[in-house]
Symmetry: C2
Subunit: 247 residues, 2 copies
Amino acid sequence: MKNQKDKPSYQVLADDIRNKIENGDFLPGSKMPTEAHLRDSYGVSRHTVREALKQIVSAGLVDQIQGSGTYVRRRPNPDGLYSRSIGSMDDLKMWPGTDTEIVQSFETHVDASVAARLNLNYVEVDTAILRRSFEEKPFVLTYHHVSPELGQIFREHGLTDLGAGTVIGAAEPFLKSPIAGVQQQINAIDADEVIGTQIGVPKDTSILLIERLYYDTDGAFIEFTESFFNPRRYAFRMDLQRKGRGS
Amino acid sequence: MKNQKDKPSYQVLADDIRNKIENGDFLPGSKMPTEAHLRDSYGVSRHTVREALKQIVSAGLVDQIQGSGTYVRRRPNPDGLYSRSIGSMDDLKMWPGTDTEIVQSFETHVDASVAARLNLNYVEVDTAILRRSFEEKPFVLTYHHVSPELGQIFREHGLTDLGAGTVIGAAEPFLKSPIAGVQQQINAIDADEVIGTQIGVPKDTSILLIERLYYDTDGAFIEFTESFFNPRRYAFRMDLQRKGRGS
DNA sequence: AAGTGGTCTAGACCACCAT
DNA sequence: TGGTGGTCTAGACCACTTC
């Protein structure tokens, strides 16, 4: 197993298996090599193989059946929705096949409720607005709220160069402590005029709201985002699998 | 470590840690015992300790910081919403603090689109409707769709005795193959008259729709559910944490 | 009975945090 | 520098499926 950058072995293995599934080396509905076989052919321990497979399983690509084997899942893609499976923080950083557009760069304004979410001691926050499109059609509008201090850093260094990346990713080099995790909450609300126009839905129809609160290793909240999704162009997907036999 | 039923050791450990956090034995914001300490005090291997902690982490109860330790998260409860963190299939089977009510038992009717979701070769399906309440207030209405064959089994054995459990849980003893997993998709829609009345929202306001498709180890789809949530009484929550240092 | 994934042990080294 | 979590090895036994 080659030492690819400093990626852990299980990650290299997982990426390789993902590719093999996408390339059709492992066919849908067919049985994957056993864990023992993967262990030998990649020259790693079984534990490492299982770490890798755990990722593939939670991404919904394969099913593991105790006593039987590991099977590549057959799954027709849903109706042209842009649907994503999010099971780890890394998934949040990737938006394959989408384009980003800056609707508004960071500006300071007063918003007590958002400031409270960020645990700030005052009522000023910096907000930027980004819009993401899939096949030329915008499907999500995101408000990025940060402290005025962090917003100032963005104003100095510019926000234009983030391309396929994320705002929090661009911010990380300037943070004292690294991002430790994110809490997210999903809900449904009515679209207002402004948001509806941006994502292509009429006023007062239902849209999906995902709030995310990123925090660093000190427990401080760094960024609060509100993402408004057009439910006809996007769906939030999750795959869960039981392990072993239920009691 | 006692052999509690046939629960795996890491599950017993995880439940114990959960309890200790809820009882205040491990205080919010404080440092948990180290993995080495837990290994010694419970007399298991470190691997087992890590399996247990992995659960606690993904439930959003603690943060693990490399090189520093494991910390109990401080988290004020959100606004009176019934919010759940769902990271595994077991989470789906528990609705602590809620009551279930059968709105309609299984009845056969014709619904081609639902039958297609279940991969049936005909257009008849059996549907039951359940409603769940939190603190006397209904917050979700769920349509349970199964094949007429499975519906017949429910009609023979009754649905009344499921109590805090789930429909799919009650069905499992009668299945040829056990449930392997579930695909779920989250979206936002407008409430219609019937559903709105049941969960306490006006017609045409936004509600949260979660569709779940349960499949067995043969890859056959067993149950398709549509759950309509009152977004003012329920939020779908997830916690994600990065591991180690990002590249 | 043989094969496969699920659980578990007893180590090891490393990257990162605290001091 | 010592402690902590992150990764990894080389085994082992068990539960379950398959033959």
